[in-house]
């Protein structure tokens, strides 16, 4: 499902994700620290995690304790990258048009962002929020994990209906290291998403909100007297559609996006509204770069 051609890969390899405020990790990475005055010397140990450079393994401690530890150095740092995917039923839309399917698009986006993160040596965690459980991949580092990331993303999520606020709060409480966080969602949650985002911010994450909408959600190809059925809740509502009411829908959608943008601006969240008709390559290689989310 998610595959990259060589050209795209080469381009992605040249990119890295930008974190402006988030604290760097306590492990050496490819990322130069912005902290000043520190010398090139040992800083700390931490447990080995899959994908760590074996050259950093402190073999002496391994010999003494029988457990692998990594020596952390001061001058270079790593960054925790979290990609949170909304896999609710509304994301699996439109069913008939796979090109603009939001979940597929989100997965491709996650793969691209994940590849960038892995390629730049950042510590990557990918979570899919669903009704039953949250699938999590990671944390892993290093480009060699790219294939496994793709395998993870290829699996069908459980889907269903859930409360984004609760899922985000749970994620924040789980005590992950603050990092650069991408939330990819259509934000169609009746109870909203603000509390969840606030919880993430409180934890210290730097949040990028990628808001996916399909073309038929932006301009509904509907007319006449219809009964609209919500694919998630199964709730229906009757409405008579005409040009006036479609105009009003368009206005309402713009207003909604404006509200989210304003909310995000106030909290330092990067808000990226995306229509899935835009090719994801263009989004990553141009739009996100233009917004200095990647560089």
């Amino acid at each position: 499902m998610v595959t990259f051609d060589d050209e795209t890969l080469r381009k992605l390899e040249q990119l890295s994700l930008v974190a402006e405020r988030v604290q760097m990790g306590n492990m050496k990475g490819d990322r130069r620290s912005r902290k000043h005055g520190s010398s090139v010397e040992f800083a700390d140990f931490r447990s080995y995690s899959q994908g760590d450079d074996l050259r950093q393994l402190d073999w002496n401690i391994y010999a003494r304790l029988g457990k692998p530890f990594i020596r952390l150095l001061e001058e270079e740092e790593d960054l925790s990258i979290y990609i949170l995917l909304d896999s609710s039923d509304s994301m699996d839309w439109p069913l008939e048009v796979p090109d603009t399917n939001k979940f597929r698009y989100a997965s491709q986006l996650a793969a691209a962002l994940g590849y960038i993160a892995l390629a730049s040596g950042d510590r990557l965690t990918v979570s899919q929020f669903g009704e039953k459980k949250t699938r999590t991949w990671g944390a892993y580092r290093g480009g060699q994990n790219a294939m496994r990331l793709l395998e993870f993303l290829e699996k069908k999520p459980s889907g269903g209906v859930f409360d984004l606020n609760k899922s985000l709060r749970d994620f924040a409480i789980r005590g992950n290291r603050p990092g650069l966080l991408f939330l990819i969602s259509d934000l169609f949650f009746p109870d909203g998403f603000r509390k969840g985002l606030n919880a993430l911010l409180a934890k210290g994450h730097e949040v990028n909100l990628i808001h996916l909408l399909t073309p038929d959600e932006v301009n509904p190809p509907l007319a006449g007297d219809v009964k609209l059925v919500d694919v998630e809740s199964g709730k229906d509502m009757e409405i008579s559609l005409d040009s006036t009411i479609l105009d009003r829908y368009s206005h309402r959608l713009d207003r909604w996006k404006g509200e989210i943008a304003s909310f995000s601006r106030n909290r330092g969240i990067h808000y990226v509204p995306v229509t899935t008709s835009i090719p994801w390559e263009r989004l990553v290689l141009h739009s996100l770069r233009a917004q200095r989310i990647v560089k």
Partner: protein, 642 residues
């Protein structure tokens, strides 16, 4: 408002299936969307904004229910009660007689009457039909059993009054006949009530609509002239039909020249007669009234008379003295009677001085004079070749004289032959004559033209029948005399009433007749064997006659005649509008208008339905909604804040 067909209102229950259909139609197409969240937000906004929301959604249904309601109303045929004279099928008798020309109401009575009839047409409702008959000398059906209001209005507008004397019994009989086809039809008489005598009873209901206000009218009720020693003596009667004394100027003129004028004072309801002598010869004498403002009918203010232009008719009776004949001729005006015995033959020159020669039971002479002839039981010798060149044969006498056939001929006009008995008659064969009265054994009366002269033949002796004792005898003799004297040209030398036809009797040399009407129009007719009748005497004035022979020029000086048409009829001149009509034994007073009529409203409902239907169609196609109230609320809020 009430309904003619209230049961139709039950069709209103059709609203139920309509609503059901609407609900079925509103079973919406189900469309699955990723989320209805935004739509719900939208609806919450709108419902907060517009209380019209629910109504707006069903605007089409409301319009359709309106259409149904209006249609059902139209079918139930609502009406408003309006004041009307009558309802249902009607036969209108529109008085078109001379009195309706009175101008006591502006512009004249006939126009007012036409307005009344037009109101009746307007009141005509639904499928009711109307027959309009204009009453004149002969009643004329203008429109027969029609529901077509424009047509009815047109015939009424086109109706023209006449100067004729109305024949009300005939008009009522025609109206009664016209009501036969209708159920409960009524006869409406629009008239000033100028009706002579009582009318015969008829079964239909009659309503009287009176026109006319005043009775003031002065008329020349009589105008006659007779020759005196050295001129003409004219007798004039002037009647004041009003109630008050009136003053009037009488102008008299002869041949277009004013000869005399008199100021007269005539008491109300009285007639003044006076005589006036015109010296010398005059062909036309005219009397005219003027100088009275309250004379509302002008057509009877002028009258003409044509003094007798012919000398007496000279009649010679050849045969034994016949008291019956002599008596009959002696009572006729303008007849000079001579008698001669058959034993003293007269010279042909002497005989030809007479206009008519009657051979009464004598053998016919060898040579017949050129005058017109009458034979009474002619003694024709048997076996003689041709007596006097006249091809007449006799087969002796016959006694089976029961009448089998009576022809329709001017000679037999007003002659009642039914009671005439004849003992015996001469069986004649006259190939050139027409049999007027035929009995079983042979003809009793014949007439014909022979070599330029007219001949009438009575085949029995007067003594052999009871004809001379009958009232028919003087009439028959007068008719025969008229027929035998074509030089007089007319049947009636006295003045005519307008519209009365006149029978012309040209002499045998004329082939064409021309009549110059008072307004100068010419009327021409060929003269055939049938009697020539001139009926276009609707105008008052003097009519001039001219006969022409085959060659085209005037055949003779005395074949040019004149006759006068005067509107001197006491019934028509008496323009006093009557308050009631008496038909049979019933006194019919003027009818009032009450709320009998119905003005149906269904066309309005149909128009509204069409309008709503177009609106519904337009809304359906345009997807139009009711105006957004938010703009209105915005406006109100601004004003409030200010």
């Amino acid at each position: 408002m009430a309904f003619i067909a209230p049961l139709m209102l039950l069709l209103g229950f059709l609203a139920i299936p309509l609503i059901l259909l609407y609900m079925l139609r509103l079973r919406r197409k189900e469309i699955v969307v990723s989320s209805t969240m935004l739509w719900q937000k939208l609806l919450r906004d709108r419902q907060a904004n517009t209380p019209w929301q629910r109504l707006r959604r069903n605007l089409l249904l409301i319009l359709q229910l309106l259409i149904l309601a209006f249609l059902v109303f139209a079918l139930a045929r609502p009406f408003l009660p309006v004041s009307a004279l009558t309802q249902g099928n009607v036969v209108v008798l529109l008085d078109g007689s001379a009195s309706m020309l009175a101008v006591d109401q502006s512009p004249d009575r006939f126009s007012i009457a036409k307005n009344e009839v037009e109101r009746l047409i307007s009141d005509l409702s639904g499928q009711d039909q109307m027959t309009i008959i204009q009453v004149g000398r002969t009643p004329q059906v203008l429109a027969s059993a029609s529901n077509d209001k424009p047509l009815l209005r047109k015939v009424v507008q086109d109706a023209q009054p006449s100067l004729e004397v109305a024949d009300w019994p005939a008009a009522l009989a025609l109206a009664a006949g016209a009501t036969q086809g209708f159920q409960d039809a009524q006869i409406i008489v629009v008239s000033d009530g100028g009706i002579q005598g009582n009318l015969p009873p008829i079964s239909a209901e009659i309503i009287y609509v009176k026109v006319g206000k005043y009775s003031d009218n002065l008329a020349i009720s009589a105008l006659n002239s007779r020759p005196v020693n050295d001129g003409e003596q004219v007798l004039i009667g002037i009647t004041n039909y009003g109630l008050e004394e009136s003053e009037v100027i009488l102008n008299l003129s002869a041949d277009g020249q004013l000869r005399d004028a008199q100021r007269l004072i005539i008491p109300g309801n009285e007639t003044v007669n006076l005589t006036w002598e015109v010296p010398g010869q005059a062909t036309i004498i005219e009397a005219r009234l003027s100088g009275n403002d309250k004379d509302y009918l002008s057509h009877d203010d002028r009258a003409w008379t044509v003094p007798a232009q012919d000398e007496n008719i000279r009649i010679l009776v050849v045969g034994d003295r016949n008291r019956f004949l002599e008596t009959a001729y002696s009572v006729m005006p303008n007849v000079q009677l001579f008698t001669a015995s058959a034993n003293e033959p007269m010279k042909m020159e002497e005989m030809e001085e007479f206009d008519i020669i009657v051979f009464d039971r004598v053998p016919l002479p060898d040579d017949l004079p050129q005058s017109n002839l009458m034979f009474i039981d002619p003694s024709v010798q048997l076996d003689e070749e041709l007596s006097a060149g006249l091809p007449i044969d006799t087969k002796g006498y016959f006694e089976n004289t029961d009448v089998v056939r009576i022809s329709d001929d001017p000679i037999l006009q007003f002659v009642n032959w039914n009671n005439v008995n004849v003992r015996r008659a001469n069986s004649l064969e006259v190939p050139w004559a027409r049999t007027l009265v035929a009995a079983e054994g042979g003809p009793l009366l014949l007439s014909g033209d022979f070599e330029g002269r007219r001949v009438a033949i009575l085949t029995f002796a007067l003594q052999d029948s009871d004809l001379p004792l009958q009232i028919a005898f003087p009439v028959l003799i007068a008719n025969i005399t008229d027929w035998l004297t074509p030089g007089l040209s007319l049947d009636r030398a006295e003045s005519l009433l307008p519209g009365v036809p006149i029978t012309l009797r040209p002499d045998l040399t004329s082939s064409m007749v021309t009549i110059i009407k008072p307004d100068g129009d010419m009327w021409t007719a060929d003269i055939g064997p049938e009697p020539t009748i001139f009926a276009d005497t609707g105008e008052i004035g003097v009519y001039e006659l001219r006969y022409q022979g085959d060659s085209g020029e005037n055949s003779a000086e005395d074949s040019t005649g004149r006759f006068a048409v005067n509107m001197s009829d006491s019934v028509e001149s008496n323009i006093n509008p009557k308050e009631s009509l008496k038909i049979g034994q019933i006194e019919i007073t003027q009818a009032g208008r009450d709320d009998k009529g119905q003005r149906e409203l269904w066309p309005w409902f149909v128009i509204i339905t069409l309008f709503v239907l177009s609106l519904e169609w337009w809304i359906y196609h345009r997807g139009l909604r009711l105006p957004q109230i938010s703009y209105f609320r915005l406006f109100i809020t601004r004003i409030w804040n200010r």
